[in-house]
Amino acid sequence: MTRTVEPPTRVATQLSSARRVRRWVRRRRAERGPALSLESAYVLLLTVAVTVAMIGPRLGSALWPADAAPASDRFVVVVLLGAGAAGLVLLLRQMGPLVLGRGELTWLLPTPVGRRGLLLPALVRVLAVGVVAGAVLASTGSARLATRPVTGPALAGWLVLGTAVGVLLALFAVAAQRRTTYARVADAVLPALLVVAGATVLFARVRALPSLPVVTVPLPFALAALAAAVALTVLTVRDLERFPDVRLHEPSLTVGTYLDAAYAVEPSFVADLRERRYWRRRALRSLPLRPRRGRLVPLQHDLLVLRRRGWRSGWLFATAALPALLSTGSDWLPVATLVVGAVTAAGVTLGGLRRDAAQPALLRLLGLTGQRAVAIRLVVPAVLATAWSGLAMLTLGMLGGLPPGPWWALGVAFGPTAAMIAVRRAQAGRIDNALPLLETPMGAFPPGPVLWLLNGSDVLMFAAPTLLALLGPTSPGWGWVGVQAALSAAAVLAYLYFGVDRRRPQV
């Protein structure tokens, strides 16, 4: 007779091998067809080839310039290497770093499959990222800090040290995923280090920093670091067996959503997920609304959200120095950073508008027209974008090598236009994948993602004075500021009059 009920759990049995289970899954999938179609492989190869052809030579000269850095610049190089290391850990923290695919998370994690075998491939991926990033940082450092020409042993010393440090940083990120104490320290200290590094680089433009001698890395020292990295890797692998499930779920689902967003070309998945996660972690206490300001209900809502984000929004203002930091590169880089930064600052409280645009049921309950809702919800973004762009242009005018002029005032006048761009993007909703494909010599491509990406960019024509002054660069007089202020006002009024529904609760 066929048995339909399993006996109770067998306690003394061995754990199943993750490798065996994975092999079984791979074999079943292979029977249903190849994982990568020829078309996908072609697109992948073409993307890599085009990317290498476009940025390869410039990236090569940036990583390995013709000459070493002068003694006066070496301190800044060391600071930037430190910032790169801090950035690597933050990036790994954002990605988990130990994550499982959705299938393994659902079907293998809650089973008696050996945890070490299950997590080992994920750990190997994390260590590989650490090794590559460490080697890149080390070669960049040696190209600028070592004696030219760089000898084989000197380069080997740098590379060994770089890979060892990369592995140690990756292991620290794994430890921070497991232990909340490490995570708290990493999330507080590393962004602060990045801010200090940025401030140091800007300070170096107005005051000379101490000169540093040529840096050599003794091979024994590098080997000792490598030995430490290997020893800690062994300990981490041993401890994988006890890695708690609860620390795997959230990062795995987050990375899964990133992949969904990339696969479906739908970035709004990520924005939604990040917003929900952010608020779910917060313990809120209801605050009373002010009855006298009933007509400004959405403004009260935005101010409440801004108040709750509190010092977290402060980090955003620390990034106002970015356009100045990037002013030594291409002319368009500080301009692009200014626009993206101001639009990001404006977006801090635009979650409500994004939700109203996606599903206006609450707006109907509130009984507000689209025009009224957008006009009121524009107030806080306009203030934030104005403050951010004013600060960014002040820094850029002082430290960005621009001709003299009231740059800060131009930034202030540009703010409302940036807020308009942010509002347009918040209203854009999801990508329209129903548009007909465009045929090109390299194959057909869907225009929806490109149109989504360009959403709001038409508003940039109202920012012409700011963009022209920066790209010139031309010294802007107060006349430029006046024209920019008038154009910003025109952008806002035109949008409120023609761009939103004036009768229905619809944005």
Partner: protein
């Protein structure tokens, strides 16, 4: 006699070749209530969506307060509906959502009505929580609290008893009675015979999109034809 709050005549809704609502007609007087019942897919929600202007009828006539439902802000100041699950605002608590709606409706959010609703619907202890953290039944109670937190002449509710505990269903029926007692009207769809009986109102039984023949709310002649 007062003009009906809602008049539906010869309503027909088709999606492509499939007709989901046919020959539905009724009048809802001021202060009255009317309940649509029927199995899943009978067309109850589609009728409610037509009344709120969220779906355009393929044929027939729908009038709300004597005019076609136009979805303007002034229409939504008189009508409240729960036919769509809202996307709750991130960063606002349960209590703040209810207060926000009450304030937007022109009332004082601190006048005690919000407390009363949260208390009656068993949401008092969840006031500082966020809607994302609520269970589906608790979210349904929050939706009802927001719907009842502001003045409305017409409530259009899609299965308000759905996902609610049996203990809370009579409470909701009582709140709807209160709404009618002060002159408001209620049009709803429901699956629960006990809940419908508690409301003590006329019923239209839909089957495959059409009213059952023995129903008091049987179709009226299609005057638009």
């Amino acid at each position: 006699m007062d003009e009906p709050v809602v008049t539906v005549v010869g309503l027909r809704v088709a999606y492509g070749s499939v007709t989901v609502v046919r020959d539905v007609g009724f009048d809802l007087p001021p202060g009255g209530a009317l309940c649509l019942v029927g199995e899943n897919g009978a067309g109850k929600s589609t009728v409610l969506r037509c009344v709120t202007g969220l779906v355009e009828p393929s044929a027939g006539r729908v009038r709300v307060f004597g005019a076609a439902p136009d979805g303007t802000a002034s229409f939504w100041r008189r009508v409240v509906t729960t036919v769509e699950q809202p996307s709750w605002y991130a960063g606002l608590t349960v209590r703040e959502h209810v207060e926000l709606v009450r304030l937007a409706g022109g009332d004082d959010p601190t006048d005690g009505r919000v407390d009363e609703l949260l208390d009656v619907l068993g949401l008092n202890d969840l006031g500082d929580s966020t809607p994302d953290r609520l269970s589906s039944g608790e979210r349904q109670r929050l939706l009802l609290a927001t719907a009842l937190a502001r003045p409305a002449e017409l409530l259009v509710l899609d299965e308000p008893e759905q996902r609610l505990d049996s203990a809370i269903r009579p409470v909701v029926a009582g709140l709807l009675d209160e709404h009618r007692a002060i002159g408001g009207s209620v049009l709803l769809a429901s699956h629960d015979p006990v809940f419908v009986a508690a409301l003590d109102c006329p019923v239209i039984r839909l089957h495959s999109g059409a009213p059952m023949p023995d129903d008091p709310g049987r179709p009226r002649p299609d005057v638009s034809a």
